[in-house]
């Protein structure tokens, strides 16, 4: 989309802007090497000079490769491979930046009447937003490479920065897959979360269908009660459940004579099921908004009983909502620490619990390997929810957004 016709800008302007950007980068490189001022001067001269030369080549592709090559060589000379990689980025950036300024492309997507100040603010704002996005995503990205650390450190070792294969290893992953504690807690999570999800999805879906009928006495109050597990601070829920489930547990073990281990799982599963319910209610009622009620009447008209109608007509249509509610319930249980800390006993230790003790007591880098695996799982879940949402909107005749 091109709003404005662009024209080439004077070389002086390009050089000044590029020199400023180069000076800014030079400041960091300079301080890292002892003298900030020298860095600014060298950076400004280097990039400013580049801005005077590159546009003259009249061959943008070649000019960019030239710039990349120059910075890679500079980086390699000063700091070996790590700096050479950074240099490649810098070279690519300045190659692009100089031409972006020179050709006037920065105005192409803005309305023709924007003033210079507005253009500057437009791009400053984008840079600010970019910084916030970096803030959002960096913590998640940082743990991934660190989980391949060959040392038991929580930071990048010089070997890792040199991209030395010696610096990397899979030993933390190996630890996760062979250590009994981690494996048992992983298994516990895989037992507890799905069963809790099934309970909250089945009860929650029924209740959501009930809630979306046209005449429900006390609808608001019921809704408030059902949503409350999401609102009440977890620590309060956890302490309440702690007393409640210890009584229930005593009753089940003492009076009814159930196995202690079994009772422990029942307690945690029921506690997690309650926590997942609000998510199911919210997503399923949302899906039911778009559900055309005359379909059920049509089905009844043709002789289907309510159960058949539910499974053959209503269920397929609201399924995307039910599944994404279920995924929310699953991640709630899979991610939950506070309640399981209070309600569960050591034999129900879940993965988050193990991570929590790991973080608080023996800080082991295996946590980073687990974290990476969990990030992968969340990416998979996120993708599924996104696909389901699109499908649901398609089914309901809305345009996918």
């Amino acid at each position: 989309m091109k709003l404005t016709d662009i024209s080439r800008k004077p070389l002086g302007f390009v050089a000044a802007c590029s020199a400023a950007a180069g000076g800014f980068l030079g400041l960091f490189v300079g301080t890292a090497n002892g003298s900030g001022l020298l860095g600014v001067v060298i950076g400004a001269v280097l990039v400013g000079g580049l801005a005077l030369i590159l546009p003259k080549l009249d061959n943008e592709k070649m000019a960019r490769w030239l710039s990349i090559g120059l910075f890679v060589v500079l980086g390699f000379v000063f700091g070996g491979i790590p700096l050479a990689v950074l240099g490649a980025f810098a070279g690519w950036f300045f190659g692009w930046f100089i031409h972006w300024l020179y050709e006037g492309r920065y105005r192409a997507k803005l309305p023709p009447y924007t003033t210079a100040g507005q253009v500057l603010w437009h791009y400053t704002f984008r840079v600010i937003c970019g910084a916030i996005f970096v803030f959002l995503i960096t913590p998640i990205l940082v743990v991934m490479p660190l989980s391949f650390n060959a040392e038991n450190f929580f930071t990048f070792t010089p070997e890792m920065l040199r991209f030395d294969p010696e610096g990397y290893s899979l030993k933390h992953y190996q630890d996760f897959f062979t250590n009994n504690d981690w494996q048992r807690s992983f298994k516990n999570s895989l037992i507890i979360a799905p069963i809790a999800t099934i309970i909250s999805v089945s009860l929650g879906t029924l209740a959501a269908i009930g809630l979306s009928q046209s005449h429900v006495p006390g609808r608001r109050a019921i809704m408030a009660v059902l949503i409350s597990p999401m609102i009440v601070p977890l620590i309060i829920s956890a302490t309440g459940m702690f007393f409640f489930y210890s009584q229930i547990g005593n009753f089940l073990e003492g009076t009814l004579g159930f196995n202690k281990n079994f009772v422990g799982y029942v307690k945690v599963i029921l506690a997690h099921a309650v926590l997942g319910i609000p998510f199911v209610i919210i997503t399923v009622t949302a899906t039911l908004v778009g559900f055309d009620r005359s379909l059920t009447r049509a089905a009844a008209n043709m002789g289907a009983n309510p159960v058949t109608t539910f499974f053959r007509i209503q269920m397929p249509l609201i399924l995307p909502g039910v599944i994404s509610g279920g995924l929310f319930a699953f991640i709630t249980s899979f991610d939950e620490v506070v309640v399981v800390l209070f309600v569960g006993s050591a034999s129900q230790k879940t993965l988050p619990w193990q991570m929590f003790t790991g973080l608080r007591e023996q800080i082991s880098p295996t946590i980073l390997a687990v974290a990476t695996i969990l990030v992968m799982i969340s990416i998979a879940l996120l993708t599924t929810v996104e696909l389901l949402r699109r499908r649901s909107e398609r089914l309901r005749g809305m345009s996918p957004g």
């Binding site: 916030i132 930071t155 809704m223 949503i227 609102i231 007393f243 998510f279 994404s324 909107e393």
Partner: protein
Amino acid sequence: MSDVTDATTGKRGPTPDDGLRIADSEQGGPVLSADGKPLKRSLARALRVQKLRALGLIAPLLIFVLLSFIWPIISMLMRSVENDIVGNTLPYTVEQIDQWDGSSGELPSQPLFQSLYYDLFLAAEVKRHTRLGTRLNYESTGMSSLFRQSGRKLDDVGKDYRKDFSAVNDAWKDGETWYALMSGAEGAETNESLLKDAKKRLSALDDTVLRGDVDFTPGAEISQLLPLTAREYAAFAVMAELIDEDEVATEKPLEQLFVALATDLQTADVSGYQGPQADLLRELKASDTITAPDYEAIMGEVDEDWVNTDTWRTIQTFAPAITSGYFLNAVDMRITPDGPEAQPESKQILVKLFVRTLIMSLIITGSCILLGYPIAWILSNLPMRTANMLMILVLLPFWTSLLVRTSAWKVMLQQQGVINDVLVWLGMVPDAARLVLINNQTGTIIAMTHILLPFMILPMYSVMQTIPPSYLRAAKSLGATNWTAFWRVYFPQSVPGIGAGSILVFILSIGYYITPEIVGGTKGVFISNRIAYHISSSLNWGLAAALGSILLVVVLILYWAYDKIVGIDNVKLG
């Protein structure tokens, strides 16, 4: 983003109550349905059936949530005012303590010391006295050790009486003698209510419901003759049979029985008594070695604190079954015999903690607004495709495990962590003066801002999406500057989004536990960490419940505000 709106406003066909309205508006005689009944009545029945069906669908979940969530929380919060532990452990003392005037400066009378002796003796036998000691220690230091040491020493006093009794007749050493004496003659009238009282007393003391048969019923005549002994023997019998699961008939009599009998014998007239062991009783009465116990002296011998009015005043202050003590503790005050007063300076931490929780939650909310607003703006003003791509960067943290994000921050913020390493490498921070970013408030604020940011962005985004960009252009074409256009036209329309996001973030942050616990150290913890500490380490559950109640009230007020502003049905996920 899936839009969540009130489900009842969705498309819907004709329903029975529409029919009712139509039937009402009909002129002339009643409209009949196909089966000849008035249409109005059949429609009313259809409406009722529909309501019942809806409730039937909701019922299982509603009952489940009420039973396993709402009720446990309410009963937990009740602990903040419950104080029946004093009455359960020292039932007779608490019954009588109101007769004593604490402000007189005099010690209580003999009967009160007597009740205390038996209450404490039984409590020590079932090992419940230390629990009360711990409870009273929250209010007055030293109570815990007083109760613990008294429990050990109480036996010694009775040992002298046991010796004296055996000197008169060796038969008093045997459990059978006592059993026969207290059971009364075979076939004679029995006193069932005494046993029932004893069961109730021990159930309250042991915090369980004692069920089962006790192989003993007190004789009616003997319980009238020796009321104190009968009462204590009944308690002894229940304890032996139901708690220790022994035979009461052969159980060795405990010391307090000798003391009780010595007391009873001072007033009892045994000359006319004909029941079992009557001769033994007369022999005792005749002997002059059995003296009346002086309970004040006994308790004074156990511990001199018992003849101190301060101890008694503490017990008196906390005797009622309902107390405001925990709530006062929660706001750094305490009950004293002279009414509520502020805690000593060194113990005032909770109000400070509440204030810190509020301030830090506000800072977190504020920084979420600052960081979230530009993101929400740019997401709603970029073309759909780009916005969806960038949305992933917001949703990925949202979907990632809380512990993953917390551990990532722990890794980044450490002294030897990524942020400090980068800063040192860039030369912005000298190696010797690395920034302290973790285990303090800074750490908590940074990590929690990151964790809660998606909860701010998502509601803001959904509000900003509905603001047409042409408004801004219109404002500018009418001559507004950039700032005026934004501040007077765009910003007011985006306020609902800020409000929704802020309340959500504030509610979530005020009750946070995990992140402050891991990155907060001691200075960056919240009130929830204190609640967890009182639940699992100090075991002061009443105080934990009081703190929890205050926190919950704050959250519920905010929730109510959220419901008013946004509506609970409008919560958006993903």
